[in-house]
Structures are given as C-alpha cells and as structure tokens.
Symmetry: C2
C-alpha cells in the first residue's frame, strides 16, 4: 500500500506509527502541502477534499481522513477493542482529537513551524491557545486516573491523540504542568517498533 | 436513555434524527449552551469537554461526541454497513463533517443565529465561508454520481452530514447551485419517521 503524506503532519504520523506497530510494510509518497501539492488534479483524484494523508490500497482504492484510516488498519488487531461500548469510546476520543485538539494544537504548530502567520491567523492565536490548553486539561484529567484513553490498553485513540500531543511544544504549548500526559507519552515512546514523526528511514519497512 | 442536548444544535439533531428513524424512545434534557449551561460542574461530570450532545444510558454511562453516538446507536441496524471498507468510508465522511464541514458551516450559522459576532469571529468569516463552500463542493461532486455518501444506501454518514447541510442557509450559505445536495436532502426529508431539527414534540417518542 501507498501512504500519500507530508512528513511533518501528525495526521500522517498517526498512520505511520500504527503501520510500524503492526509491522505492515508500505510506501511513502511525499507532498509539500505548503507549496500546494495536495491541490493538483492528480492529488484531487485521490482525495477530492485536497488533504493528506490518503491511504491507497494495492488495488487502487483510496481512503482519506487519518482516523478512518486508523480504524480500517486496526481491524482485527489489539488496537481496536471488540466491545461496542469501548469502540464508541475510541471514536469519541478520535472525534475529540479532530474537533477540540487538532484544530488548536496542530494548527498553531503548523502556523509557527511551517506555514507562517497572516492577519486572520494572528487574530485567532489567543483563542487557539485557550482551546488547546482546554483540550490538554481534558486529557490530563482522564490520564491521571487511567493508563490509556480507553479500556486500560493501548488503542488507536491513544495513537491518534499522541501524534500532535507529543509535539505540542512546537506550537508553544508547554506540557510542563501535565504530568499524566507526559507519562502516557513516555509509555508510547517506549513501545517496540516505535517510530518518530520525522524518521523517514523507518517508513519503508 | 437521556440525550443531553441543545435544540438548535445540528450535532444533537443527528442523534435525534437517528433515534427517530430507529423508533428508539428517549428523553431530552435541554441546556442553553449560549448561557454556559454546558460548563456547570453537573454537566462536566457528564462530559469533561463541556459540549453537548451527550447520550446517557439507563445505567448512567455517558457517551459524548455526536458521531461516536451515531456509531454506537447504529450498531446492528441498516445505517451501519457490515463491510469494513464501507464502515471506513462512513467514518471518513464523519471525520470530513467534523473537520471540514461543521467548523465552517455550523460555526457561521451559530454565530449569525445564536451566539453573535465578535472581533475574532468577524476576522474568520471570509475564511469560514470559503472553506464551507469547498466542503459543499466535495459533497456535490460525490452526490452528483451517487445517491448516498456510502454504498448506495442511507447510513449514519448521510445523517451526520445532513444535520448542518440542510440548514446551511441559516449561516448564509446558499444551496442554489448544489442540485445534487438538494435532491439528497429531499430524499432524507421524505423518510418515514423523519423529524425536523426544531421539533421538540417528536423527541419524547
């Protein structure tokens, strides 16, 4: 399979991390999204929404949206629970990630580290910081009482939220006052087959 | 079961519509989110993230995030496909809804119709309009070739995206140039057991 991706993307990294944990080989095709490479006619044929990551199966079928890709790849593995209530909790945390966490923490990181600030973005910075810290507060509260987000074992909910949380400081979010999040990040970092977000060499396993 | 909700919310309405289609009785508990009623200690005990809707089961367990609730309620019904690839496509469209559609189309509707504009929101309006129309373009392209979003039958992907699409004009998004979206909306409107977003009387089925 081919992962159409942008290396600094946490959304892409979620999938790279899961593929490595599953020891599933894949090819990486890189797009410079800041230069508009996810809006060419060729890319829009893969995902009409013009966003990486996109997983392309060997038969050519494509799946967009990082958390949908995690769901698909995790079927039958230890990272997708079998109980419907726990499955719903995994989806709850992944929705939380895409709505309350990523648009704040990942956006600020992307603006400061990659795309730059403009007037519209500058006007949103204070709101994004406030909402990003609110999302970290929700995670800290849960992780101070539970080792993982769902069912006391690692799932794709943890992988989804780890992606942008562990690089939150690149968006000027300090994790200093979040000891439970730090311990949870450390546990994931220590997994067998762990791969870092910028480790291109490990991607072509 | 109890649905903790705010009647104008499309996120809540997704669940009300599915519960009606499933002929599943429920109680509605209403919160004025503009007045801060989803940030009281009592509400935060239901959802630490301080957002409606929340589904509370008869045994007290709570599930937040509208699309996770749709997933849970649709298990075993015709609205959740049995094929894993189609399931992943449903989640793809629901992620698209929460990331590319709702934050633009629903936010502008909420600002103009309920919460009001402030300086930060005013600075984002043009971007939100552009991105909201881009999301409608993606839907129109798909629906001009397919009757439903996934697998040629109604699923929770359609229910999730119908919620804010059918009231997009309340956010000053015109659907006039989206004939496929209009036809798709009409098909959902004509379903047996359809309930409208503001129909409180139908909620206590």
């Amino acid at each position: 399979m081919i992962l159409h991706d942008y290396l600094p993307s946490g959304n892409g990294y979620k999938i790279r991390l899961l593929l490595n944990l599953l020891a599933q080989p894949f090819q990486l095709k890189h797009y410079d999204i800041v230069a508009g490479e996810s809006h060419t006619p060729e890319f829009l044929a893969l995902n009409a929404n013009g966003k990486i990551p996109v997983l392309q199966l060997d038969d050519g079928r494509c799946l967009a949206e990082s958390n949908a890709v995690l769901f698909y790849l995790a079927q039958g593995s230890q990272y997708w629970p079998t109980d419907p209530w726990q499955q719903a909790q995994v989806l709850k945390w992944m929705s939380f990630e895409q709505y309350s966490h990523e648009p704040n923490i990942a956006s600020v990181r992307f603006w400061l580290g990659h795309a730059g600030l403009n007037e519209t973005r500058r006007a949103q910075l204070a709101d994004k910081k406030r909402q990003g810290y609110a999302a970290l507060d929700v995670m800290e509260k849960h992780l101070s009482q539970h080792r993982y987000l769902v069912g006391e074992r690692l799932s794709i909910a943890d992988i989804a939220l780890y992606a942008y949380t562990h690089v939150a400081e690149e968006g000027a979010f300090s994790l200093a006052s979040y000891p439970a999040i730090q311990a949870w990040c450390k546990g994931i970092f220590q997994l067998d087959n762990y791969v870092s977000i910028d480790d291109e060499s490990a991607l072509l396993a």
